[in-house]
């Protein structure tokens, strides 16, 4: 048993064991609060209903807005809603609370990277959300609102959503790391969430923004969290007058994930030196 403990194969097995244990523990922990999560079954469709009425009224005076038809814009909002259930993340809040309360010190003693642990927690949390939030709302949209929620290409849609899932985690985790400098990061968190949702296309399709804004948004990483997975799901990508093939966009998304991972590594390297905790 001890002889092979440092072999790469054993390290991988160990990481898989950690992943399974953390995912299961988080799943069970949150399953106790599944009714909290199930609020989405009400909130998602009601919020969506408002959008349906707004856009129906808007399109009653014309056929297209910014090149999008009514059907396309309604589908966009439907897809955004369900993708958000899959990629939702609270790593920023969790980490800043651990730092603020000093409980983070216990993680420095554990033989596991906190980032990896937090990622596994997210997997467990979203696994629960899959049947409590995603599937019921998906069926509601499909059967009640009659929205086409079948991805244009399942393979690319799954890859893009997975990359969006990882990118959302890394970005939020980096915000959590700022807790090493700021201790209480509530304001910064809110500011970031606001900026992220606005620039990721959660509020409106990014093509509705004025031209110069679209050009800025094209070079920001936020579009890769929601806008890109949504457009990949629908089967076409366009922003700032630039249309790109789906594999190319997904490749860019993968690039954004790698860059964000390097940013996380750098922030962690600088931030961890500042942490002090007593007792906790």
């Amino acid at each position: 048993m001890i002889v092979h403990k440092n072999k790469p194969k054993n390290i991988i097995y160990r990481q898989i064991d950690i992943l399974k244990a953390t995912v299961l523990a988080t799943y069970k922990e949150w399953a106790a609060y599944r009714s909290h999560m199930a609020i989405s079954i009400f909130v998602g469709p009601v919020t969506f209903l408002v959008q349906v009425f707004i856009w129906n009224a808007v399109y009653s005076t014309g056929n297209t807005v910014s090149g999008l038809t009514l059907n396309q814009i309604i589908t966009y909002y439907g897809v955004v809603t369900i993708i958000n259930y899959l990629t939702y993340d609270s790593a920023d809040w969790n980490l800043q609370m651990l730092i603020q309360t000093g409980k983070f010190i216990t993680f420095m003693l554990r033989p596991v990277s906190h980032c990896y642990y937090a990622f596994c927690q997210k997997l467990g949390h979203r696994l629960l959300a899959l049947w409590v939030e995603f599937i019921p709302v998906y069926l509601l949209f499909l059967l009640v609102f009659k929205i086409n929620l079948v991805p244009a290409d399942l393979f690319w849609a799954l890859i893009s959503i997975t990359l969006g899932f990882i990118l959302m985690f890394l970005m939020n985790y980096c915000i959590g790391i700022t807790g090493f400098w700021l201790t209480k990061t509530e304001g910064l968190r809110r500011a970031f969430i606001l900026l992220r949702d606005l620039c990721a296309g959660v509020l409106v399709p990014l093509t509705l923004f004025p031209g110069f804004m679209q050009k800025i948004l094209f070079f920001l990483p936020f579009q890769f969290i929601t806008y890109v997975p949504t457009r990949v799901f629908i089967g076409s990508y366009e922003l700032a007058g630039i249309s790109l093939p789906i594999p190319y966009v997904v490749g860019m998304q993968a690039g954004a994930v790698i860059v964000m991972f390097l940013v996380y590594k750098l922030l962690w390297f600088l931030g961890i030196k500042r942490f002090t905790g007593v007792g906790a």
Binding site: H36, I39, V46, I54, A57, S60, V65, L182, L208
Partner: protein
């Protein structure tokens, strides 16, 4: 009455003092509260900027509805809507018991200790948006202003009703902060002209859950084109408050504690 006002002022003072321990975070949070409320108006701006519109309504008329809605939130959220998070937090931590043994009504105590200074950002945002919209619209007459003020006070009544329901839910649904999302999703209907919704939905938002009173109805009065069922909505708003109080008292009686 004077002692009640003194108590509320003391609550505000304490709330501000506590929040000032992290001044920079407070300022950022208040600013973000202001900005986050501009998602609705931004959507309106983008719609009109793309040469589309909500039929029968100009951009500034829609922005006025949203400004009034924000103004109503800007007053209610700092000064009494805090009963929601205050109740949720106290019930979850077990400190709700402390309010039960005070020589004042539980509701008053929960309002006083629930002052939320960060939400003052909403008030500033509401004032700014309403001011900008009014500047671009024809000046309302005295009668419009009087009708608006009366209806705006009733919008606060509806807000209070919502706060009571959500706080009541917080007693029986421990630690569920997502009740705010329930409110936000429903309240969205009050941010737009009722005419864009179907007839049945218009009936719901004026005669069942009077969310139209939160923004649309007072703003319509100020614009000089009052909603046809305004009087009916006013009566329903008071009935809504009564039902909310009943709900709050019922859930309060159901409160059980393990001692904190």
């Amino acid at each position: 009455m004077i002692s009640a006002i003194k108590m509320h002022l003391q609550g505000i003072k304490t709330g501000l003092a506590v929040r000032m321990a992290y001044r920079a975070d407070f300022i950022i949070s208040a600013f973000i509260m202001l900005i986050s409320e501009f998602f609705g108006p931004l959507l309106t701006y983008l719609i009109y900027n793309n040469e589309a519109s909500l039929p029968g309504w100009s951009m500034y008329e829609v922005l006025l509805i949203q400004g009034v809605f924000l103004l109503s939130k800007g007053i209610s959220f700092p000064f009494f809507f805090g009963i929601v998070w205050n109740t949720l937090d106290r019930v979850q931590n077990g400190t709700f018991d402390l309010l039960l043994i005070k020589p004042r009504s539980v509701l008053q105590m929960v309002i006083v200790t629930g002052f939320d200074s960060e939400d003052l950002g909403k008030l500033i945002g509401g004032l700014a948006l309403t001011g900008i919209a009014l500047y671009r619209l024809p000046r309302p007459g005295l009668s419009e202003w009087v009708a608006f003020i009366g209806l705006f006070v009733i919008s606060l009544v509806v807000m209070f009703g919502f706060a009571l329901i959500l706080a009541g839910l917080g007693i029986v649904w421990i630690g569920n902060y997502r009740v705010y999302e329930i409110f936000s999703s429903i309240a969205n209907f009050g941010m737009y002209p009722a005419s864009i919704f179907s007839k049945s939905l218009q009936t719901v938002i004026t005669s069942v859950i009077p969310v139209a009173m939160l923004g649309f109805i007072p703003a319509s009065a100020l614009l000089g084109k009052p909603y046809e069922n305004t009087l009916y909505a006013v009566i329903i708003s008071f009935m809504f408050l009564f039902a909310s109080l009943l709900f709050w008292n019922t859930t309060l009686k159901k409160y059980t504690s393990s001692g904190g």
